[in-house]
Every structure is written in structure tokens, then in C-alpha cells.
């Protein structure tokens, strides 16, 4: 637990100093939305359904970048070995990196939500408050698998290809559930309409956060 707070505090301090990851993530999320606005026919593509879809595309892409960023912070000067050498337990390291990736993603998603409302002609109203927890669940789920997988793909060739290749298929269930739940929330439907989807999201999170927590030590150590 001490390791978790120490590493997370250090990561946030580094991020506040440069702001690199935050800016990169926000820019990416916005670009994704812009691309989708032009890729979709504006006559057809409006309303909650498309908006929710666009938001989740942005989430997946920013998540990929966020998880990679959180781990590459440790690659300069061999800092990752410094962490492995220290008494910090590997699970604490995973939790800290997961939290950092999650925070980066949420910042990017915050920006993406604002842009979504503007681009897709929605309203700034309470519907957004209901989307927030859904997005948070989705971001946590993505961060949980992406952090685990980024530690693996960081040591493979073509790592920027391998991470999405592994992470996206695994994320499909949460993606389906998240888009449906967000659509329901944005359309102003009651919670019961999205209940099944929320349950899937929660199950996904429980499963993959604990799997990552248990398996991280096997991917972070060296031979």
C-alpha cells in the first residue's frame, strides 16, 4: 500500500510537471471524435447512439496511449529495475500503474464528453452525470487489461501494433456493454434499462483487475 501511494504520487508529480501524457491523450480523444464526425454522415449520425459509440472509440484509443504512457515513465534510466529491486510488491506496482492510466483516461474522457455534446447536438444536462459512472467503469476495465498487456507488449517487437491486437478483442465485452449503457444513459432511460450492461461492466472489472493484480508479477520480472 505504501508502494502504491508512493509510485502513484510520483507519477502524478511527473505528469503535472510535463503534462505530456495528458495533452497527448486529450488530443487523441478529440481527434478520434473529429474523425468520426467526418466519417459518419451527419444526416444519419446524430443523437445518443452515435455519440455514445464515438465516446467509446475515443476511450479505447486514449486507454491504449494512457497505459503505455504510465509504463514508459519507468523505462528511462532503467527505473523499472529500481522499482523491482525495491521492497515495493509487484501487485502494488500494478495498482499504481493502473490508477495512473485510469486517471489519464478519465481526463481525456472528460474532454471527449464536452466535445461529444457539442459535435452531436446533445445537451449539457443530468444525462451526462449518468454517463460518468459508466465511462469510469469502462476506463477502469480498459486500464486493467491494458496495463497488464502493455507490460508484455513493451518487450515485443512492433509493440504499438501488439497492444491493440491483444487488448481490443479482450475488451469487446466491456465495449459492447459500455456503449449500450451509455446510449441508455444519454437517451434518459431509467437505470433498469442499462442494468444488465452495468452488471457485465462490473463483472469485467472485477475479473480483470484481480487477474492483473495476480498475474502482473509474471510479466514485469526479467529473466
Amino acid at each position: 500500500m505504501a508502494a502504491f501511494t508512493a509510485i502513484l504520487r510520483k507519477d502524478l508529480r511527473l505528469e503535472m510537471r510535463s503534462g505530456q501524457s495528458t495533452i497527448a491523450l486529450i488530443a487523441l480523444a478529440l481527434l478520434v471524435l473529429v474523425v468520426l464526425v467526418f466519417a459518419l454522415d451527419p444526416a444519419v449520425a446524430r443523437g445518443p447512439q452515435t455519440a455514445a459509440g464515438a465516446l467509446w472509440v475515443a476511450l479505447v484509443f486514449s486507454g491504449m496511449l494512457g497505459a503505455t504512457r504510465a509504463l514508459t515513465a519507468e523505462s528511462e534510466n532503467g527505473c523499472i529495475r529500481g522499482l523491482l529491486l525495491s521492497p515495493a510488491d509487484r501487485a502494488g506496482l500494478y495498482a499504481a500503474k493502473l490508477a495512473a492510466a485510469f486517471i489519464f483516461m478519465m481526463i481525456a474522457e472528460g474532454a471527449a464528453v464536452v466535445m461529444m455534446v457539442l459535435f452531436f447536438n446533445l445537451e449539457f444536462d443530468t444525462a451526462l452525470m449518468r454517463v460518468a459512472p459508466v465511462i469510469a467503469l469502462g476506463a477502469l476495465g480498459f486500464a486493467s487489461i491494458a496495463t497488464l498487456l502493455a507490460a508484455i507488449t513493451g518487450r515485443s517487437r512492433a509493440s504499438d501494433l501488439m497492444l491493440p491486437l491483444l487488448a481490443v478483442p479482450m475488451y469487446v465485452p466491456a465495449l459492447i456493454a459500455g456503449v449500450r449503457a451509455s446510449t441508455a444513459a444519454l437517451s434518459g432511460l431509467p437505470f433498469s434499462a442499462a442494468r444488465d450492461w452495468i452488471e457485465i461492466l462490473v463483472a469485467f472489472n472485477v475479473l480483470f483487475v484481480s487477474a492483473g493484480y495476480l498475474l502482473f508479477e509474471h510479466v514485469i520480472t526479467e529473466e
Binding site: A6, L14, G78, L85, P87
Partner: protein, 234 residues
């Protein structure tokens, strides 16, 4: 007799088809130091990585504090300090922040005082609030020494600690090693050829073709005087 800090049995490491280390039998008692010399790629760094638990041996085992090096828990990792050829310091944090971070990871008691003491000890109090990115290689190495020793490790692993240090820095490093030995820590240091640790009584070893040999008195003298004669040449 005190239990050895480091003990290896038939230790070997193979990278691909290349046996880097083999059949290494090595013991180190508390308060004793060993200097391991060997050329580039002789396997010195690999040996230290294994002792630190960062790398798994291919054959045999290494016991550190009596524990298999692959299974060193937090309690034991806390008692190991390492200086490698990479500094493990965050370039965008200041010297003080780097030490604060490692002090909190190692659970150092009374961290602020310790950090000040160590910054003074390695002669960096004037640059304490500068970012490490702006440091010269030598300053970074000094800070790395403070980072490695801030939690008073009982096993110090020093991978070519004198490289990139000026004369003052080398003298400082020697003092730090002597002080560590004096408080009962065990030290393993590596060097290209001449171990520069002037005052410390270090047992000398040489790695030749993957195996580690203790150097005898006469060979020691020669090594001390900078005339390294590898065993291979005999």
C-alpha cells in the same frame, strides 16, 4: 561464525547459446567485500543482477540472506542496495524528490533528515532542487549512490561504481564502501581491471570465461598495480 550474506552453489547463466556464467561457488560474510574483475561482457553485471534477484540463474542457485535469490520477499529486498550502470533516477524529478521517492519505497524512518544527510554526504546539497536531467554523469552517479544506500542496506551490489566519477568522486565512493563494511554490510563491487577502492580490504576475484576465481596474494599485488594478467594468458 555469522551466516554468509551471499552463497552460490553451481551458479550458471546462459543467454541463448552463450554460457555467460558457470559453476560459480562464492561466499561472502557480513562486513566483507569482494571485488570482481573481468573484461567487457565477462558476466560481472549478470552476476550482480542474479544476486539482486532481478535475474534468474539458469543453473544452480544463489542464496542471499539464506533465501533463494528468485524468491527474495520485500523484507529481504529492502536490505539490498544496488548501483548499476543505469542510475534508476527519474530525470524530471529533482535530486531531493528522487531520494524522497526511494525513501518512501524503502520505508526509511525519519526520511527528511536522512535525505539531507545523504545529499550532503555525496556533495550534492547545492544541487538538491535541480532536476536530474540537468546533472552531469558524475553527479548522477553520486546521487545513485545516495539512492542505493539511503536505507542502510546490508548487501551492497556495485556495478562499476567508479566509472564516470572524478578523483573526488572515487574517493567519496571508497569512503562510502569502507563505511558500509564497517557497519557490517557485505559489498560486491565489479571493475574492468583495477579496483580503485584504496583503503578497503576487498577480496579479489576474476571472472574468466564464465568462471570466477579468487586471486592469490601475488596476483592481487599485480592487479593493484594495474598490471592485470588474465588467467587465460597463462
Amino acid at each position: 561464525m555469522a551466516a554468509p550474506v551471499v552463497e552460490t552453489h553451481g551458479l550458471g547463466k546462459t543467454f541463448g547459446l552463450h554460457p555467460v556464467l558457470r559453476e560459480i561457488e562464492f561466499r561472502l560474510l557480513p562486513g566483507r567485500g569482494a571485488a570482481v574483475i573481468g573484461g567487457n561482457g565477462a558476466g560481472k553485471s549478470t552476476l550482480l543482477s542474479i544476486l539482486a534477484g532481478l535475474s534468474a540463474p539458469s543453473e544452480g542457485q544463489a542464496l542471499v540472506f539464506g533465501i533463494d535469490s528468485r524468491r527474495l520477499g520485500p523484507r529481504y529486498r529492502r536490505r539490498i542496495g544496488m548501483i548499476s550502470h543505469r542510475s534508476y533516477l527519474y530525470p524530471n524529478l529533482t535530486a531531493r524528490e528522487n531520494l524522497e521517492f526511494y525513501a518512501s519505497l524503502y520505508g526509511v524512518a525519519d526520511a527528511p533528515t536522512q535525505i539531507d544527510t545523504w545529499l550532503a554526504r555525496v556533495g550534492l546539497e547545492a544541487s538538491a532542487d535541480e532536476r536530474v536531467r540537468a546533472f552531469s554523469r558524475g553527479m548522477e552517479q553520486r546521487l545513485a549512490a545516495a539512492r542505493a544506500m539511503i536505507a542502510d542496506p546490508m548487501l551492497l551490489l556495485l556495478d562499476e561504481p567508479f566509472s564516470s566519477l572524478d578523483t573526488d568522486g572515487q574517493a567519496l565512493m571508497s569512503r562510502l564502501v569502507v563505511a558500509a563494511l564497517a557497519r557490517g554490510a557485505a559489498v560486491v563491487a565489479t571493475a574492468h581491471a583495477v579496483p580503485e577502492i584504496e583503503n578497503a580490504e576487498l577480496d579479489l576475484y576474476e571472472i574468466v570465461r564464465g568462471r570466477m576465481f579468487p586471486l592469490k596474494e601475488k596476483e592481487r599485488e599485480e592487479v593493484r598495480h594495474g598490471r592485470l594478467r588474465t588467467l587465460l594468458g597463462r
